[in-house]
Symmetry: C2
Subunit: 249 residues, 2 copies
């Protein structure tokens, strides 16, 4: 968290949001986050404000379904980018452990320095086999341009389910076309990512990640896993999230 | 614009928004924009998407009133920060010229290097007397903390009207309390800035700035200036912008 580098007046009405913002800026300065990642975070902030900066019941249902989907999968992979690595490295690693998922670094703005920095951050928080870094990303996702298509043959390429928090639309759609089950976290229920994914958690990753870990612990080994996942309706869920945003305005 | 440093596939559906984004990132790399400015831009992007990435009729009314207000003022000042200097240096300088406004650099995250870089950027685009830089900012705005309160005694401090595109809530409120007429550009009609200002243009600064310059040329010298300004109702205008956003969802 590097709290020593961050100073927010504790009486500020939006202290949580400011603190998260500072974590991102700090992550940028440490070489984990891309400049474009800061802009993307701002978009998320706007939608989080609109949804009331809370985990809605609708999001809670998606969270449970997401945990169920990862637990049911044979080869689940958690795809990590700079923003998610900076905001919740510990819970990403915990989720991988409780669901038996692999962790792969997968960047929109790919540089090996940034990949290595993210890998190191995840390892600091207990990850032991981080995929996708450097020459390990030797397989390709069809229909994407250049560097953005490279994935690890032992990770995303051969996964049945990919958890891509904070992903862009092109890549989410490409993963779905490859036949992957896709789970995402996206605060904008109208985004292409939100619409393309099979399970979309419309929530702030800061709140959603600990909740997914908790849900995974809770339902692991349950007989109703399949039912939890099959009864989830993503389109309906997105419509409900949109309603909540409109009502809040 | 530094188009040589920016590469966006021209067929991309959101090419304009991506280009603007790259201008900001480039501005960050050139030392004009703060990291927090990138996040703020992201919030703006989200609201711009919601409003349909166009200048609404409601915004057009606010634009006309803003031009009128600047033309009617005795000591209007245009307050420039990193984001506005990077996104529309030319039109900021043009607006100052047509309305007889002074230009003052006024930063939320103040460093003298950044002030100097912004001043130089404005001078490159024709500004000849940029206020607020370094020791010139020797007056203070009451009720604000530390570096954020410093302003130029010849500029904002003695202004009757301050145009603060992309300003934060605390400062906008402080300026209003000082008795200034405040004009702003803010894509979020629910923000404290939007609510505190006397005239709020709910539009992307990229579209709004050339429109204000055009309006100022058009109505300059007109006998109905006072009427244009007095008939403008900011609360009503904000409600209409909010309606447009809700309808678009």
């Amino acid at each position: 968290m590097h709290a020593d580098r961050i100073s927010i007046p504790p009486e500020h009405p939006r202290v949580k949001s400011l603190y998260t913002r500072e974590m991102l800026v700090d992550g940028y300065k440490r070489g984990l986050v891309a400049a474009e990642g800061l802009i993307a975070h701002g978009r998320g902030e706007a939608y989080d404000y609109l949804i009331g900066e809370r985990t809605t019941k609708t999001a809670q249902r998606a969270i449970k379904a997401a945990a169920g989907m990862l637990l049911l999968s044979k080869r689940p992979v958690i795809s990590v980018n700079g923003n998610s690595a900076v905001l919740c490295p510990r819970t990403l690693v915990e989720l991988a452990k409780v669901t038996g998922s692999a962790i792969e670094v997968n960047l929109f703005y790919r540089t090996e320095d940034r990949e290595q920095a993210i890998k190191a951050e995840l390892e600091t928080h207990g990850a032991d086999n981080v995929l996708g870094v450097g020459s390990r990303a030797s397989a390709t996702i069809p229909e994407l341009q250049s560097e953005r298509r490279r994935v690890d043959p032992e990770g995303i390429y051969s996964a049945d389910t990919v958890f891509v928090p904070l992903e862009d639309g092109d890549r989410t759609e490409a993963l779905v076309k490859m036949g992957k089950r896709v789970v995402t976290i996206d605060l904008n229920p109208m985004s292409r990512t939100a619409k393309a994914a099979h399970i979309t958690i419309v929530d702030n990753i800061i709140r959603a990640m600990p909740a997914i870990v908790e849900a995974a612990h809770e339902i692991k080994g349950s007989r109703s896993l399949r039912k939890i996942v099959d009864s989830f309706d993503n389109k309906k869920n997105l419509r409900e999230s949109l309603k909540i945003i409109r009502r809040g305005m």
